[in-house]
């Protein structure tokens, strides 16, 4: 009776108009220029395109249109190659994506490609749910974001940021320790439980790194939130886009791309600042592409990966404020339009972004499981 509300899916949190905003940003460019840029950089391997067109479309899963600009990613792919995309359960979680590969094995409607969190990419690879593929831009994907054997590959990443509703918060917090100030009573919020929501989990990690912890030690992060709760600043309710905009949860710790999309969506109505906390290396989270071992449309799946990892595809992520995996490579080659860079927070901290590996993630989960409910009391 209680569950009228949609379950908290992986991406259910912010149904924000990243796509719509992205389109708006794009239209700010000289239209011809933007189109030329895309025309020059999307994959044009004619043999692959011809083979992909013979497949029965492309089955994707869990790509929310308003998340990291997937609406545009899908429509551009369809427009360029004339291949129809069937995107199943847009709001499914990583766990559900893997389940779909297992349960739809051998069926025409099984997913061809998935977009999952790194720990789920590792599970999928270990279980043999994926097949290797190396896109032509493979070498410019950072090594710490891909499987050496090509089973999975990071596509985009974000870092932990503070989304601050400035109509409620007069002085925006700049560092993690600023959050402890008494002026932020009842204001600091996560997007769910750190044991269930990726961004909330990352927030505890980021707080740890700012307080003497490291990727190997999330403990200080838990202690930080315990302190935050004790000071009365931690608001344990689940932040939503609506609660940030209305000011019920005026400081939301979340991925930069979600906070940025929210800020731009509400431009002119309410000022939302997005800040990457200073004084510590930013904590990053990425998602991974992988091709299902049982992909019913294998060639179309490969073409999709080529498209996603082309300059054109990677720029689509960036339009949705998600940093593409090949960001540094593209910046150094000067293919990222200035205007797009201006929409983002300063690039400097992103150079030091830290990603945890599997062992570090698991260690942190185990500590969180036992300590979070014990230590953090409001």
């Amino acid at each position: 009776m209680d569950d009228r509300h949609n379950k908290q899916g992986r991406r259910q949190f912010l149904k924000l108009g990243a796509g719509a905003v992205g389109a708006g940003v794009a239209s700010m460019f000289v239209p011809g220029l933007a189109n030329n840029a895309f025309a020059a950089t999307h994959p044009m391997d004619q043999a692959l395109i011809a083979a992909a067109k013979k497949d029965g479309g492309l089955n994707t899963i869990a790509l929310p249109p308003d998340w990291a600009n997937y609406r545009k990613m899908i429509s551009e792919f369809e427009r360029l190659y004339g291949i129809r995309i069937h995107n199943a359960s847009p709001d499914a979680s990583s766990a559900q994506e893997l389940q779909a590969i297992r349960s739809l094995k051998g069926q025409r409607r099984g997913p061809d490609v998935v977009d999952v969190g790194p720990s789920f990419a590792l599970i999928g690879a270990a279980e043999g749910l994926f097949q290797p593929y190396k896109v032509s831009t493979w070498s410019s994907i950072p090594d710490n974001m891909k499987d050496a054997g090509g089973m999975w590959y990071g596509d985009y990443f974000g870092v932990e940021s503070f989304g601050v509703n400035r109509s409620v918060v007069k002085n925006a917090p700049m560092t993690w320790n600023d959050l402890l100030k008494s002026e932020y009573k009842g204001m600091v919020t996560l997007n769910g439980s750190p044991l269930g929501a990726g961004a909330a989990f990352g927030a505890v990690f980021a707080a740890a790194m700012a307080n003497g912890g490291s990727l190997d030690d999330i403990g200080p992060g838990i202690e930080f939130f315990a302190k935050l709760a004790k000071a009365g600043n931690f608001n344990p309710s689940d932040a939503t886009s609506a609660s940030l905009v209305s000011g019920q949860t005026p400081i939301v710790v979340n991925w930069d791309y979600l906070n940025l999309a929210q800020a731009n969506k509400n431009k002119g109505m309410v000022q939302i600042d997005v800040l990457i906390p200073e004084g510590a290396a930013p904590y990053g989270g990425y998602y991974c592409q992988a091709i299902s071992k049982y992909a019913p449309n294998l060639k179309a799946a490969q073409l999709w990966e080529e498209f996603v990892y082309s300059d054109a595809g990677q720029l689509i992520y960036l339009e949705g404020y998600a940093h593409p995996a090949r960001f540094s490579d593209m910046v150094s080659r000067g293919v990222v339009p200035e205007k797009m860079l201006k929409e983002l927070p300063p690039a400097a901290p992103y150079k030091h972004v830290q990603f945890p590996n599997k062992a570090q993630t698991e260690k942190a989960q185990n500590l969180l499981k036992t300590e979070w409910t014990k230590m953090v009391k409001v």
Binding site: M1, D2, D3, R4, H5, K7, Q8, G9, R10, S93, S94, A95, Q96, L98, G117, S119, F120, I123, K185, G186, L190, G192, S193, P194, L195, G196, A197, G198, A200, F201, A229, G232, N235, P236, S237, D238, T240, S243, Q248, Q365, K369, T370, W372, T373, V376, K377, V378
Partner: protein, 296 residues
């Protein structure tokens, strides 16, 4: 129906007609039960006991972990207390609006409000309470200006106590709805008869009213308990997991983005089924005792 069935040929036809009706209407229900209740439950059973290398008790053993035990204790305490609050307050409200002499409009007003409130849950409910009883909520701030500091005195909306208050918001109205027919069934004549024999109001309730209502009260309690026990969206939106509760733990391991352990989820679900079975057994025994008078 028995009056019609007497004449044999027509009756036989009618009876086979009833059979057909039963098949058409009850059959799908049973199928539905099989597909969406019994088979999934069996699957849970299978999942909870199978590891990478066949049979394992690993996941069931996880139920003994400190964290999990705490989640079960919290869930059971929260459900039983919030149901008790619902039972008592809802029962009294239902009686007051149905009592002979109660204003007519009051009754329809309360029942229609209850129908709405019993279904008001999840994120909107959580935020309604955050903005009234949260640490910066309207009521909290107002009480503070009167010199009553709720949070300094140990109260927190994000604790079991806080959740009991939040749950009461949908438990009480649900109780009003489910108990109303039983209270309406109390005949005026019974009370009059008791009073004529010199019973006080207390004696009437002690020996007539409550014993008649008891079976319905018990089953209402079970319903409220199950309602609270399975509640997920409200506590999640309100506490983001700082309070361990079984449904939230299940969602963390089953559909979260941080951990994945469907088997642990299955084991936790079996634990929940176990708790419900125990509650149902207590109910069966209690209901049998409570309805002894009907057999005398």
């Amino acid at each position: 129906m028995s009056t019609v069935v007497r004449s044999t040929p027509a009756g036989a036809r009618l009876r086979s007609g009833t059979k057909l009706l039963t098949l058409i209407f009850i059959g799908p229900f049973l199928l539905y039960m099989l597909a969406f209740l019994i088979l999934p439950a069996l699957r849970l059973f299978d999942q909870a006991f199978s590891g990478e290398h066949g049979f394992t008790l690993k996941y069931i053993a996880q139920l003994g972990q400190e964290q999990t035990v705490k989640a079960f204790v919290n869930s059971v305490v929260l459900s039983s207390v919030s149901s008790l609050v619902g039972l008592v307050v809802g029962g009294i409200v239902a009686y007051l609006i149905l009592r002979p002499g109660a204003p007519r409009g009051l009754r329809s007003m309360v029942t229609s409000f209850s129908a709405v409130a019993a279904n008001f849950a999840g994120v909107p409910l959580a935020f309604a309470f955050v903005s009234t009883l949260g640490s910066l909520g309207m009521v909290t701030v107002w009480l503070k200006s009167l010199g009553v500091n709720l949070y300094a005195s140990g109260f927190s909306l994000y604790s079991v106590t806080g959740l009991v208050i939040v749950y009461a918001y949908f438990q009480i109205p649900l109780m009003v709805i489910v108990i109303a027919p039983a209270i309406e069934g109390l005949r005026r004549e019974w009370r009059e008869a008791a009073e004529n024999l010199g019973a006080s109001s207390w004696t009437y309730w002690r020996h007539v009213g409550l014993p008649i209502l008891l079976p319905s009260l018990l089953s209402s309690y079970i319903l409220l308990f199950g309602n609270a026990f399975a509640a997920y969206a409200t506590p999640y939106a309100l506490t983001s997991g700082i309070l361990a509760l079984v449904p939230v733990e299940i969602s963390n391991v089953l559909s979260g983005n941080v951990m994945l352990s469907p088997q642990t989820g299955a084991a936790l679900s079996l634990g929940m089924i176990g708790v419900m079975v125990v509650i149902m057994l207590i109910y069966v025994v209690a209901a049998r005792r409570a309805s002894r008078w009907t057999r005398q």
